[in-house]
Amino acid sequence: MNYSQEQVTELKRKAIQVRANILEMIPPGKVGHLGGSTSIADVMAALYFHTMSVNPSDPKDPKRDRLIMSKGHAVLVQYACLVELGYFGREELAKVKTFEGMLQGHPDMDRTPGIEAVTGSLGQGLSVALGLALGFKLDKLPNRVYAILGDGELAEGQIWEAVMAAHGFKANNLTAIVDFNGLQATSTTKEIFPIENLPQKWSSFGWNVIEIDGHDMVQILDALEAAKAFTDGPSVILAHTVKGKCFAFAEGKAKYHNAAMTEEEYKEAWACIENLKREVEA
């Protein structure tokens, strides 16, 4: 255990703030990927505010760990973390997906400090992460690489090319995290495309598999630590999550994959944030 109870509570506060930042970016009427951003928010908070080595004052610090948002449509959650760390000012949040803003609809490393690659065309981020991991290994550097994948994204064949390759190259500095929320753009993953038996799939491809509740901060921290400690090859964290987590009206509904909230829903969402704050302080 490399964390204290106080740190866990602080990370829970951060995760609430991350969700609040997401809300700030998509006021009523503005379309955004609420569902898949909030499902992975707790994991992202743990990564950015605890596990990863990052340096907001020097976004290109060679010593930093890298996070590749393979499920690029959920980049709102990454912006929500980066703004909290000071990679850019809060005024950018309102300008997300606008012509003047630096926060693009999908991750763009040229436009946004802290974004490490171009992703958004699904299925490519794990391969990019593997390339980084191989580069670091070649130079015998300690940097770690994290790839955030959607479960719907696992239908992309390239993911499994990367999974096989990462095992073959014993990329033990690479951790994949699957946001296992069971929903994709139009329906359940079960209905859209068969990706069942994920633990067995990854394990049979030679990966160290860790399965957790992706909203339990202690489990998240333990899983990230276990992935780091495993040195025989790459690790995958299958994080069971709820799409739209913490916003009752959106939880478990495919509709909020990419939708605009109504005024009423938006008010309700902020009320959810206030409730979460009370709960964590209780």
Partner: protein, 312 residues
């Protein structure tokens, strides 16, 4: 003295030479290393050689990641797979991000004569030149291949190199300096200018000899950088001529011909585009049969020149 040489073998040898001093160069191969000749690099520097298996899409995105880690990755495969199979990976992971990834499309055009249409690339230039940030190179002989391979390793940004599978006559000057973007006058002439690339450079040079006997003088220009196209040079080579012919071993759509027509659209000059018509390749027992069948011989260039003159 050698009169012809293998472009791909030269590519492999040059990679080995480059890898000696530049430790950042890494090679990725999709199990065609004995054809692309990337295996030569693998033999010399096994720790910097990544055998990626028959998984070109992953290979292209892994190269993007290696570039983000400061490496200079070269992707190797046949031109059809390097560009077509991994197109979106090159578009998204590499070109949008403007990463320093080098793509070698080997056995390009119809040059993989035996393997037929699935393995012959008549669309790779089109796919690569439409991508912003991408540089597209098409050497006409081994001498130019060596210079280009060195230049692409030194420049920053994504580059596509299109390599013919077969030995080609040595037509360029080994002593001449080379830089990406240049076009070179191979034959002086005044009536018509022929802008040619790849194997069509030597075919056009042969055409000049045929036409000379008919009293027609053609200027042959080797356009080995298809993108960025040096439009000022293109225009200057058009000065005084009555017409323009383009010649390439690629579809007439989206290749050198399209680029030249677009660049010269304001010039009131007749242009004839020579290339593979709207069709895929086919198997043959040798390369010459295909060049003849697809109308890519010196006599075909000569016909286009006559046609462009008769349009005056």
């Amino acid at each position: 003295m050698r009169t012809s040489d293998s472009l791909r073998k030269t590519y492999g040898e040059t990679l080995v030479e480059l890898g000696k001093d530049n430790k950042e160069i890494v090679m990725l191969e999709a199990d065609l290393g004995n054809s692309t000749m990337s295996a030569m690099f693998g033999a010399a520097y096994p720790e910097r050689y990544f055998q990626m298996g028959i998984a070109e899409q992953n290979m292209a995105s892994v190269a993007a990641g290696l570039s983000l880690a400061g490496k200079i990755p070269f992707i190797n495969s046949f031109a059809v797979f390097a560009t077509g199979r991994a197109y979106d990976q090159i578009r998204s992971s590499v070109a949008i991000a403007n990463l320093n990834v080098k793509i070698c499309g080997s056995s390009a055009g119809l040059s993989d004569f035996g393997d037929g249409k699935t393995h012959q690339s008549i669309d790779d230039i089109a796919l690569m030149q439409v991508l912003p940030n991408m540089t597209v190179l098409s050497p006409c002989d081994a001498i130019e291949t060596e210079k280009m391979t060195k230049a692409m390793a030194e420049c920053n940004g994504p580059v596509y190199l299109r390599i013919n599978r077969n030995d080609l006559p040595l037509v360029t000057d080994p002593k001449a300096e080379y830089k990406i973007g240049q076009m070179t006058e191979m034959v002086e002439g005044k009536d018509v200018v022929v802008f040619a690339t790849g194997v069509m450079v030597q075919q056009s040079m042969e055409a000049a000899k045929i036409l000379e006997k008919e009293g027609i003088s053609i200027r042959v220009v080797n356009v080995s950088t298809i993108k960025p196209l040096d439009i000022a040079a293109l225009e200057s080579y058009c000065e005084g001529v009555k017409g323009v012919v383009t010649a390439e071993e690629h579809s007439i759509f989206g290749g050198l011909g399209s680029a030249v027509c677009s660049a010269l659209s304001k010039k009131r000059l007749p242009i004839e585009v020579l290339g593979v018509q709207d069709s895929f390749g086919t198997s043959a027992e040798n390369y010459s049969i295909l060049l003849k069948a697809y109308g890519l011989e010196s006599e075909d260039v000569a016909k286009k020149v006559r046609a462009v003159l008769s349009a005056n």
